[in-house]
């Protein structure tokens, strides 16, 4: 710990303190799209991406372009009144695709409300995400089918669910068997703000004492709505877990290759019985918190400009172009495909039907519940009577 001369709440020296640690970050692709020989800490992780081919890199580039395009379309749909709200992932594509692509089919992910890129990697139909933000559904997909839990809005809750799920995986002897299709890891996504929640500390405690096969994947996008992460921590977030007995690592979250490597290392550790890991993916929320937010009230534009230079997609494109792994035709193809997906999405979004009102009584319980069932009957009778005398509207 450095100086403890704690000034009044919000004293500006704190920001400087947290950022001094940025040099311990694992990076494999520079913002300029160079892939230097790994040294130092990155060397340890290089083995995890040795098998990554140009084709794989092109695949991750494609994922990121599609996800960004889809995200932009969703923002536009919100502006046009088709969605009630949208939480954009702009700037976090590499953190999400890199970690999402590190997962195996038998793994299980617990997202927040912003993990559209991970959802894409898990095969969740983008329309299902839109249904949620349109106000047409409260869930929308089958978690078991995709190994991807429902979005969680209450900050931090899902980290405990992930830990419990991982405890179940352990009890099912799906850890440390050495069978590649059997051993499973669980990954819990969370934001920098979320690290302050009691639930997250409790998840760290549980996962540590039970050695649960879970990875805490914290996307430090620097902001929790209007609060910079200096309001949540006085140490770099990846150091937060060591006191719980959980190793922490900071990765350049705008570097898809490094994120893939670090998440692979962490998930493989979990699958093999090595226990939990805390990954801090250092990234940036390029847009507003959600479409309801106005970031000009609390952050300066220059900060955003600075992060534009570290764009997660541009660096992969530069690398692919420079190394000759992809040509203009490839980039144009991906662009066209993303456009096509966005166009289809726009159509399916607009066509999403409103749920039938009486569906609010559905699935509240697995078995009949007399009071709720009576309420549904009364409601339907009320509606039916109402339909008869539409003449007599009394407003």
């Amino acid at each position: 710990m450095p100086d403890t001369d704690v000034g009044p709440a919000g004293s500006p020296d704190r920001a400087a303190h947290v950022d001094r640690e940025a040099d311990t970050m694992i990076q494999m692709l520079t913002p300029e799209g160079e892939r230097p020989e790994p040294t130092g800490a990155a060397l340890e992780y290089a083995a995890y991406v040795e098998d990554v081919t140009d084709d794989d890199l092109r695949g991750m580039y494609r994922d990121m372009v599609i996800v960004r395009r889809f995200d932009a379309e969703a923002t536009a749909l919100q502006r046009q009144g088709e969605l009630g709200l949208w939480a954009s992932l702009l700037g976090q594509e590499a953190a999400q695709v890199g970690s999402g692509r590190a997962l195996r089919p038998q793994d299980f992910a617990y997202p927040t409300y912003r993990e559209h890129g991970v959802a894409w990697c898990r095969g969740v139909p983008p329309t299902a995400l839109l249904g949620l933000y349109r106000g047409a559904s409260l869930g929308g997909w089958d978690p078991a089918e995709h190994g991807f839990a429902l979005y969680t809005i209450v900050i931090g809750s899902q980290t405990l669910h992930a830990t419990g799920y991982a405890m179940g995986v352990q009890r099912d002897h799906a850890v440390g068997t050495g069978e590649p299709d059997r051993d499973a890891a669980v990954i819990a996504y969370l934001g920098d703000g979320a690290t302050s929640q009691g639930d997250v500390s409790e998840a760290l405690v549980f996962s540590a004492v039970y050695n649960a096969p879970v990875v805490f994947f914290c996307q430090n996008n620097q902001w929790a709505i209007s609060e910079p992460n200096t309001r949540q921590t006085r140490v770099p977030l990846f150091k937060r877990s060591s006191g719980f007995g959980i190793p922490g690592v900071r990765v350049d979250g705008n570097d898809v290759l490094a994120t893939l490597a670090v998440t692979r290392a962490a998930t493989e550790r979990a699958r093999s019985g090595g226990g939990p890991t805390f990954v801090e993916a250092y990234t940036y929320r390029m847009g507003a918190h959600t479409t309801s937010d106005d970031p000009s009230r609390y952050r300066i534009a220059a900060e955003v400009e600075e992060w534009k230079l570290k764009d997660p997609i541009a660096r992969v494109k530069a690398y692919l172009a420079r190394s000759g792994a992809a040509d203009e035709d490839f980039f144009a193809e991906v662009e066209a495909e993303a456009k096509q997906i966005a166009t289809e999405l726009r159509v399916t979004c607009r066509a999403l039907p409103d749920p039938p009102p009486e569906s609010m009584f559905d699935d509240v319980y697995a078995e009949p519940h007399a009071v709720l069932d009576a309420e549904r009957e009364e409601y339907l009778a009320y509606r039916a009577g109402f339909a008869d005398d539409t003449e007599e509207v009394r407003t």
């Binding site: 009691g198 309801s292 549904r376």
Partner: protein, 315 residues
């Protein structure tokens, strides 16, 4: 805040942003970061530390960003905040105000439209209030801050956009300065046939229903704005029901064990011989708050309120 340097504001995004509803807009600029405190993202932490600050002589006014996010703080509120006065034989008083935007009707995603008032009303040691108009909000928040007890101050979020006259700059220096006592119900519209008991966001809905019923000659409805949910102003409620002989309770919260259950029981106990009809309740259903596209079917509206009026009048 000008008046009492011990008043501090705490919450998520209440500083530079002014809160997600801008209720604290500009206050950090005026009073500084020491008095308008952006907290870490941790509701249990916010309320728990507010309790400690209050024990040290401060008057924390905390903001919970949305109704659905008060639950991480629920333990601190019901096991600590509510009980301290009683446990300490009155030696410790915790003048903490917990402001919570509550209720639905704004087309939000889940956890942003809930009505958790019953949990707090059910907990001895807390006062629970909710204004229904800008003027009432203006005075009531000052009364809440002045109150020596913990106050859960529920702000009907869909009425944030309502406009009304307020005596700008007026400061509550003694209890008599406010037009209505803290804890008192208010007859928002006098009427002879049916008493409608409501609060917060439903007051405007009920007033509109009363106007509609008056316009088509169905009924002369008295609308009682409860304002305080704990304690309930039972004398005002009883006086009204004794006059009209009929009562309908309206709230957004689920009907099951909602305020309507309490009010129906109290009215039945206190006005049994004056009642011409059973007390009816109009409220949310015993299901989770639904997706935004169908929330209008969940929330009591003019028609559901008038339907209940028809039914009490039919007796």
């Amino acid at each position: 805040m000008d008046h009492d340097p011990k008043v501090v504001l705490m919450g998520e995004d209440i500083g530079a942003l002014g809160g997600v509803f801008r209720v604290t807009d500009g206050l950090q600029k005026d009073f500084g970061e020491d008095r308008v405190i952006d907290t870490p993202l941790a509701e249990s932490g916010i309320v728990g530390t507010a309790i400690g600050l209050a024990m040290r002589g401060y008057r924390p006014v905390v903001e919970i960003q949305f109704d659905g996010f008060v639950f991480p703080a629920f333990d601190q509120i019901v096991t600590q905040l509510a009980k301290m006065g009683n446990r300490s034989a009155g030696r410790v008083r915790l003048p903490v105000v917990i402001r919570i935007p509550f209720g639905g009707g704004i087309g939000a995603v889940e956890h942003h439209s809930e009505s958790p008032e019953s949990y707090f009303v059910h907990t001895g040691g807390l006062r629970v209030v909710t204004p229904s108009t800008p003027e009432d909000a203006f005075w009531m928040v000052q009364q809440a801050v002045a109150c020596p007890d913990p106050v859960v101050f529920l702000e009907p979020k869909r009425r944030y956009w309502d406009k009304g006259e307020v005596p700008e700059g007026a400061v509550l220096r003694s209890p008599g300065d406010a037009p209505r006592p803290f804890g008192a119900a208010h007859v928002a519209r006098p009427g002879a046939d049916v008493t409608m008991l409501c609060y917060g966001p439903m007051v405007r809905t009920c007033l509109a229903a009363a106007e509609a019923a008056a316009a088509d000659g169905t009924a002369d409805i008295e609308v009682v704005d409860l304002r305080s949910l704990s304690p309930l102003d039972l004398p005002t409620v009883m006086a009204s029901v004794r006059r009209t002989g009929r009562a309908v309770v309206v709230h957004e919260a689920p009907t099951t064990l909602g305020l309507g259950a309490e009010l129906a029981a109290r009215v039945q106990e206190g006005c049994f011989y004056h009642l011409e009809a059973p007390v009816l309740r109009v409220g949310g259903f015993s299901a989770p708050y639904p997706a935004a596209k169908i929330e209008d079917e969940y929330l009591p509206d003019l028609d559901r309120v008038l339907d209940a009026v028809d039914r009490v009048l039919a007796h």
